[in-house]
Subunit: 162 residues, 2 copies
DNA sequence: CCCATATGGTCTCATATTGCAACCAAATAG
DNA sequence: CTATTTGGTTGCAATATGAGACCATATGGG
């Protein structure tokens, strides 16, 4: 039973993970960002089982993170394309990538480096910043409860929080 | 078989997901960032099965994203705490949260708002920026292959790319 | 100090998900 | 026009999850 759905949760993180939280989803999106379009591209790049790939792609299409479009080259096969919704997951992908570069890098270094296309330089770390653009310390980041959401009481013994 | 390990992949995203890619991991980390410390906190907040929570917490501890420490209040029970490694996942969490706020928000709004502790204001979107702090367009973000990694050839029919 | 309850697990079972391999129809290549 | 590729689907075995029973230790109230 992998299935305990997050979709009824009010938390945006849980709701997002409902869309991209399965094992392969974010890697599929990563490949799409790197130019993969066809079923075979994802399959070969990931080494994922075909039926699983079918499921994940269908989920992403249902979640409007990707769309099936007629092939650009006139082929009768369809292609998978990121929507704007999907492309806006870039900060998540970049953050995951940069965390991995720093903390769990492969001995040969990362396979892919995220860059500023203009300069070709490695991108600075995606990080919380103020409006001014100034980087914040993590200790400066807070989390406030929405007034419409039940308050958190870690000590209590009452109902579930979510 | 949920298990096809990503750990041998060279890609940093895959390597990161190996640590935090399971269904509950990122929600556990979110709760820890919001002050959860004890087993019961996570259990009540998430409504996760106890055996699954045990597994996830053990994985996080093994991955040195959390540590078990003696309780701060003198209790004989231990507490779970984020390491620096774990705290540095904040950009990922924030990015997920903000994406959810924008694209799949709950009708009552998000349960939690990520803020600048100083001002109390909602944090600007975590987003790729140049060294200067200037926000980039997503189209300006590139991905370059490491020279040590095999090149990508989406059209080819050769071995797996990873 | 004693007893009731809370806490933090572990174990078993039913079910859901994944991976693998076989198979297939339509598309494409030569 | 035939062989191969593509994009699936289906069935089966292995594995992970959720639910609940169960248990030892810790804590709280009197």
């Amino acid at each position: 039973m992998k299935t305990k759905s997050f979709s009824n949760m009010q938390c945006s993180i849980a709701r997002t993970l409902e869309h991209v939280g399965s094992w392969w989803s974010l890697l599929i999106i990563r490949d799409a960002m790197m130019g993969a379009r066809r079923f075979k591209h994802f399959q070969k790049s990931l080494g994922i089982a075909k039926n699983t790939l079918t499921s994940r792609l269908n989920e992403l299409v249902e979640g409007r993170i990707m769309v099936r479009v007629p092939a650009a080259d006139g082929s009768k096969y369809e292609e998978y394309q990121l929507t704007e919704r999907g492309r806006e997951l870039a900060p998540v992908i970049i953050a995951l990538s940069q965390w991995g570069d720093k903390w769990v890098a492969h001995e040969d270094g990362p396979s892919t480096i995220i860059t500023d296309k203009d300069s070709g330089e490695r991108l600075p770390r995606v990080w919380p910043r103020r409006e001014s653009g100034e980087r914040m310390a993590l200790s400066e980041v807070g989390m406030r409860r929405n007034t419409k959401a039940p308050p958190i009481d870690w000590t209590g013994k009452e109902e579930k929080i979510k």
